[in-house]
């Protein structure tokens, strides 16, 4: 296995010496608790709800997915909600996220819009396949038109301490992505303490990730606020050191608006203005969009409507 050369890492080897950033779990919990106490009301709430919609990677990742299901998802992505009486002007979601076999269908489904097609790859969700298979998986998704690749790291290798392997693997997938953006899924639910989340974040960022992402959604716990804070702090340290802005994608388990707003508060107070954009922050979610839509309608009418009034994705 050779280390790939790419523009972002300059073929550098992993910064093993720096992969030991201590994280204090109690301190993280305190900070998270304080962030969740922010009160978001009125205009800023509506503004934030719109921002959440624009940051969603609308996702379907089931064995039972069919082209028809993906067409339905794309239709929802293009047209989140119509309410003639309110005249809502809603943003579109950031991307649809599907398996590689569905990329071509998704590409057709969002044709003519700015919605990106994201595909999981590299033997998602377990990552338990030979590297060549993972690279072929990646290339196939890109060839079919994926704008973004969500890869999984080899957690077994990582937990065994083989950081060089994990680094090289990410760098190789990054190269296989070509022009496509790379999101690196750490699967934090399998990594144990927050020190390891930080270590994996630093490794992925150093290996060239455009985004780091918490979870596949197939393992519990998926995204959590403490894990996301630690990852945002890794992004911040990299930005301080190099000026390169890496994106963040919490995924899995974020289905309510209130929780999504707490993530935005955390983002705002950790990384500030530059990250408040779908270019640098995404929510990986399937049912979040409709809860946000319900809240937006409620902000206008004062009434919660039945979920029956919001189309499924």
């Amino acid at each position: 296995m050779t280390t790939s050369t790419n523009a972002r890492t300059g073929g550098a080897s992993p910064p093993l010496g720096s992969l030991l950033v201590p994280i204090d779990e109690v301190g993280v919990a305190d900070r998270v608790e304080r962030l969740t106490r922010r009160s978001i009301k009125k205009g800023p709430k509506l503004q934030a709800l719109h921002m959440v919609l624009s940051m969603i990677d609308l996702t379907t990742l089931e064995g039972a997915d069919t082209p028809g299901k993906v067409r339905q998802l794309c239709a929802k992505a293009r047209r989140l909600h119509e309410d003639p009486t309110l005249g809502l002007e809603l943003p579109h979601v950031a991307a649809v996220c599907v398996y590689p076999s569905m990329v071509a269908e998704a590409r057709r489904g969002v044709a003519g819009t700015a919605i990106k097609v994201a595909s999981v790859a590299t033997a998602f969700p377990s990552g338990q396949a030979p590297l060549e298979v993972k690279l072929a998986d990646t290339r196939a998704a890109v060839a079919d038109g994926a704008d973004e690749i969500d890869m999984v790291i080899s957690r077994g290798r990582f937990l065994a301490g083989d950081y060089a392997y994990v680094f090289d693997e990410i760098a190789a997938v990054e190269e296989a992505c070509g022009e496509a953006h790379l999101k690196v899924i750490l699967e934090t639910g399998e990594l144990g303490p927050l020190d390891e989340v930080r270590r994996a974040s630093d490794l992925a960022i150093a290996a060239g990730a455009d985004f780091i992402k918490t979870s596949t959604g197939k393992v519990q716990p998926a995204a959590t606020l403490p894990v996301t804070l630690v990852m945002l702090e890794a992004i911040r340290d990299h930005y301080y050191a190099t000026g390169r802005a890496v994106g963040m994608k919490p995924a899995g388990g974020i289905s309510k608006s209130k929780l999504a707003l707490q993530y935005l508060v955390m983002l705002r107070e950790t990384l500030g203005e530059a990250w408040l954009t779908p270019d640098l922050f995404r929510f990986g979610a399937s049912s979040l969009a409709n809860d946000v839509l319900m809240q937006i309608v409620k902000q206008h009418t004062g009434i919660y409507q039945s979920p029956d009034y919001f189309a499924l994705g």
């Binding site: 950033v21 201590p22 994280i23 204090d24 009160s39 800023p44 503004q47 911040r236 107070e269 203005e273």
Partner: protein, 507 residues
């Protein structure tokens, strides 16, 4: 010292984060609709609210708006005397005769009633004193109730607190409390005194009398007999009358070291017991092996909690030189996200300075610090037009000989120094007349224990700051005072101990 010029100033052109965001939070003021404050309050003596004998009053104002809230009776010598006599009568009367378990029940009831009226009390605390509602709601009120709950449990178990000895109450306690945690300090003082069977004359601070007077209503409703707790509002002279009164058996004071020394002088030779909880200038030591992002949060909580009006505030920061630039940059970015303003807004992080006088003191120290060569850093947050405000402040490039490093400022002002070795850090941390508290930040457990055991201060926090618990004793070394409050230790100042003889009779 740090070899790099100006630690904490990122080099020109370095990547910067922008916290002046296009999305921020709307005002979220706590509703005051249900609040019913009277326009005037009397003294609480012998179970009744009454005017001062002289008829004099003073005004308490809202430091966030400079508006008057209420007129409060100004207690003079005659009122203090009446309060002490009422306390003596209650001590020799119903309270002294009450079985300990019954006494405990009443203290438990006080705790529960504080919880029931927590929202109202939190709002009044923020209006009268300027502290953010987030803190009065989440810190002051829960802790005040917790102190009454904790000491209520001791009331009928004093034989177990002091095995082999008999614990009797001391008598009448004169208690003088400060303006930074008005209700919480009343709880710290009253709970152990009542649980051990003493009676009390309490003197709240001049600028923050209201929650103590609301507490008087709770004490009545809880069934505390008249005279057991008396509250005399006023300024320093009222406190001095109380300290001097011959009917007082024990004085408990929390406040400035300057006044503490006056009290100590006044009490010399009188035989009165006393405990003093005075000033502080705590060192917060951050080593290069610390979890830096969490240390930054701890530094912020250490100094900007309650506008820095905290005797145990971590007001002197010492950072190991090899992480100073990184840490100070993070700290400055964190400070950009602090929201300064309306104490009743649920999003406010830093409220109003308690009084004009205190604001002037802080501003004087900021000028002194800069004259001494310190570099000032403040975030660019907007401030309200009226009221008393001070932005969270760093004084960078300080040295041990700076007055701002030696003297307690009691505001949101953090002095910053760097150090190279563990020995240097400990030596400088201890190089202060104070010794109330301190902080150590290191991911190495052995180092945290070793350093904290050599810091001469009453409370040392490791990898956290400003955590309080009624079961833990609190108090200072050196000019930070004497005696302990909280925990089992907090019972001792309020009991006279004697021995059982072998037949079980009291000697």
């Amino acid at each position: 010292m740090n070899d790099e010029p100006n630690p904490g100033s990122p080099a020109a052109g370095a990547p910067r984060l922008d916290f002046d965001t296009t999305w921020s939070y709307a005002p979220a003021p706590e509703s005051t609709e249900h609040l019913r404050l009277r326009s005037s309050y009397g003294l609480f003596i012998d179970g009744e609210l009454r005017a001062a004998a002289s008829g004099e009053t003073f005004t308490t104002i809202n430091p966030a708006t400079e508006m008057e809230i209420a007129e409060v009776a100004l207690a003079g010598p005659e009122d203090v005397d009446r309060a002490v006599r009422a306390a003596r009568a209650a001590f020799e009367g119903p309270w002294g005769r009450m079985p300990a378990a019954e006494r405990g029940k009443i203290v438990f009831r006080i705790a529960r009633m504080i919880q029931e009226r927590a929202r109202e009390l939190a709002i009044v605390e923020s209006i009268d004193g300027g502290k953010p509602i987030r803190e009065s709601r989440d810190v002051d009120l829960p802790l005040a109730a917790a102190h009454f709950f904790y000491y209520a449990g001791w009331a009928d178990k004093l034989d177990y607190a002091f095995p082999g000895r008999v614990a009797r109450p001391v008598g009448v306690a004169g208690q003088i409390i400060p303006w930074n945690f008005p209700l919480l300090m009343a709880a710290w003082k009253l709970a152990p005194a009542l649980a051990t069977g003493n009676t009390v004359v309490l003197k709240p601070a001049e600028t923050t009398p209201l929650t103590a007077l609301l507490l008087a209503e709770i004490l009545q409703d809880a069934g505390l007999p008249p005279g057991v707790v008396n509250i005399v509002t006023g300024a320093g002279e009222t406190g001095a009358e109380l300290v001097r009164h011959p009917g007082v058996d024990k004085v408990a004071f929390t406040g400035s070291t300057e006044v503490g020394k006056l009290i100590q002088r006044a009490l010399a030779g009188t035989g009165k017991r006393y405990t003093l909880e005075l000033g502080g200038k705590a060192a917060n030591l951050v080593f290069d092996d610390a979890a830096i992002d969490q240390a930054v949060e701890g530094i912020v909580n250490g100094i900007f909690f309650n506008q820095g009006h905290v005797c145990c505030a971590g007001s002197r920061l010492f950072v190991q030189e090899n992480i100073a630039n990184r840490l100070l940059r993070k700290l400055q970015d964190r400070m950009q996200t602090l929201i300064v303003g309306d104490p009743l807004d649920k999003n406010t992080d830093v409220g109003a300075i308690n009084s004009r006088q205190q604001l002037e003191t802080i501003e004087e120290y900021l000028a002194i610090g800069q004259e001494e060569g310190a570099r000032l850093f403040q975030p660019s947050c907007p401030l309200p037009e009226r009221g008393y405000w001070c932005r969270p402040t760093l004084l960078l490039d300080c040295t041990q000989s700076h007055r701002v490093v030696q003297e307690e400022i009691f505001g949101p002002v953090l002095t910053v120094q760097t150090f190279r070795t563990v020995e240097e850090a400990i030596e400088r941390a201890n190089n202060t007349p104070y010794g109330l508290s301190g902080g150590v930040w290191s991911d190495k457990g052995a180092k945290a224990f070793r350093v904290s055991s050599r810091m001469r201060a009453g409370v040392i926090w490791a990898n956290t700051y400003n955590k309080f618990d009624p079961t833990a004793p609190f108090g200072g070394y050196k000019e930070s005072g004497m005696g302990r409050e909280g925990g089992l230790h907090g019972l001792e100042p309020y009991v006279a101990l004697s021995r059982h003889d072998t037949n079980g009779a009291r000697a």
